[in-house]
């Protein structure tokens, strides 16, 4: 019954938030959180499995956007767009978390989860706020691609089992090389995905679900397997269309149950500090990226403000690897930064103008 409940509530939330052009992610989570607190929603095995399907389709979808050949061709621009984002935000959150008294592993999960912006919110707001003509929009898109690649690495790092590290890494390397190899050969079966019947949808969905089998039989992390399976099919654009409906439905359910899974233990100061540096870090890295690529401060502010929102990846990383303490902080950070980020992205042009105006006055 809780699934029906979750699906209906998420549908209503989606309807309302699209009307107000407000991001859906924080609302799904908040709804789950509130209903979980009231005891209306109880975690069940089915809910857990559907959430898992949500995570798989999200990461599979990410993989679909990591086309090895395309990335290799554009490695320069991708690298320079994403570099500052990584070297500012990740260490900043890591060391501040340590200073706040978190353990090394907690700090690592916090910085992994909060380094990554929400592609869903960021890209959607570029479209909705009609910013696609600007050069900064392209930089932001490449920055997201860079983050996607780093996510794959973060999954590996968070999954490292030091007792069998050699076998683990060997297995991953073989798997990764195989995926890259297959991605080049995949055009041969493109026909399967171009048909008008139900075959393409079925194939896309079942290939994504194969990640469960890879985890079961080869101990390859589910999340990593999902990304790599997506990567194999990255040359076939149609698969993206096929998997999107699954992603929309199951990810909404994932957010909802993610919200209900944690009790918010209000550690006021720690949460506040972490949220603050998550915001400041992105503005800082945005400014540096803007300087590097566009030689302009206002481009940097635009990039910074546009990438503040955290969302799906933060939720998935902390849900998979975090303890309840870390989960509640990241959850608050997602709710807060996604709402603020959507708002700031909308008014970024005015903010830039205001900054230019004040700097001229000074």
């Amino acid at each position: 019954m809780e699934i029906v409940f979750a699906a209906v509530i998420c549908s209503l939330i989606a309807l309302i938030s699209k009307k107000l052009s407000f991001p859906t992610i924080p609302l799904y989570i908040t709804a789950g959180l509130v209903l979980g607190e009231w005891g209306v929603i109880i975690q069940s095995e089915i809910a857990e499995f559907l959430s898992k399907v949500g995570v798989i389709s999200l990461l599979f979808y990410i993989g679909l956007h990591i086309n090895p050949e395309e990335i290799l061709r554009k490695r320069r621009i991708i690298f320079s767009a994403g570099l500052f984002d990584l070297i500012v935000n990740f260490p900043l959150i890591f060391f501040v978390s340590l200073a706040l008294g978190f353990s090394y592993s907690q700090a690592f999960i916090l910085s992994s989860a909060l380094y990554v912006s929400s592609s869903a919110i960021v890209l959607q707001s570029l479209i909705e706020n009609r910013k696609l003509i600007y050069k900064e929009a392209e930089t932001i898109v490449w920055l997201m691609v860079f983050e996607d690649i780093v996510i794959a690495l973060l999954i590996i790092l968070n999954d490292l089992d030091f007792t069998s590290i050699v076998i683990f890494l060997a297995k991953l390397s073989v798997f990764t090389l195989l995926a890259v190899y297959l991605s080049k050969k995949i055009k041969g079966i493109e026909g399967i995905f171009m048909r008008d019947d139900e075959v393409p949808v079925l194939f896309s969905f079942s290939i994504a679900l194969l990640s469960i089998a890879f985890e079961e039989f080869f101990d390859i992390p589910l999340a990593y397997a999902s990304i790599m399976l997506g990567l194999i099919l990255s040359g076939i654009k149609r698969v993206r269309e096929m998997i999107t409906p699954f992603k929309e439905v199951f990810l909404a359910i994932f957010f909802f149950f993610f919200g209900s899974s944690a009790e918010i233990t209000l550690k006021g100061l720690e949460s506040l500090v972490i949220i603050l540096i998550s915001i400041i870090g992105k503005i800082l890295s945005g400014i540096l990226t803007g300087f590097k690529i566009h030689r302009s401060f206002s481009s940097g502010i635009e990039i910074g403000l546009s990438t503040i929102a955290r969302g799906e990846f933060s939720a998935f990383l902390v849900y998979t690897y975090g303890d309840s303490n870390v989960i509640s902080i990241v959850m608050l950070a997602i709710i807060f930064t996604s709402i603020l980020g959507a708002f700031l992205a909308k008014y970024s042009e005015r903010i830039v103008q205001l900054l230019q105006y004040t700097s001229r006055m000074l």
Partner: protein, 157 residues
Amino acid sequence: MYVEMNGIGTKYELETESGEKIAIIFLMNRKIQLYIQEKCKKLCSAELTESEAKRLSSILGGAPIEREKESVEVDFLGIPELTVAMHTYRVGKNLAGKSIEELAIREKTGVTVIAVSRRGKTIISPPPHFTFEDDDTLVVIGSKDQIKLFEEKILGK
């Protein structure tokens, strides 16, 4: 010149001689965003559906359907060298009572009679033994040259 924007769509950009910018982005949800930016001025944009974008493109492309008085010429997108012309004619006394076969329209000119309108009724693909009557309107299809030949040899213009 186009840029693949991962997760968004495909962006085409154009800068005019006067330095104004136009960008068209084909979004993944099949909508199309059109941006126009005057030099150093505020941005204008519109979001179009597929059919609206097609209408706009046919206007900008100089209209693929070229209207003459009684004929249309159709260019097919993607095959620039293929132009098909259709023309309508009113049957005069000189053709009345003769059939398509008798006139050997196809053999002599290469055009095909695809439809005849007779007293408000339409006959699509008339058979070879079809006989014209005074005041029929016929629609022929062929290349521009073939239609010219048809006018000379059959209609005797």
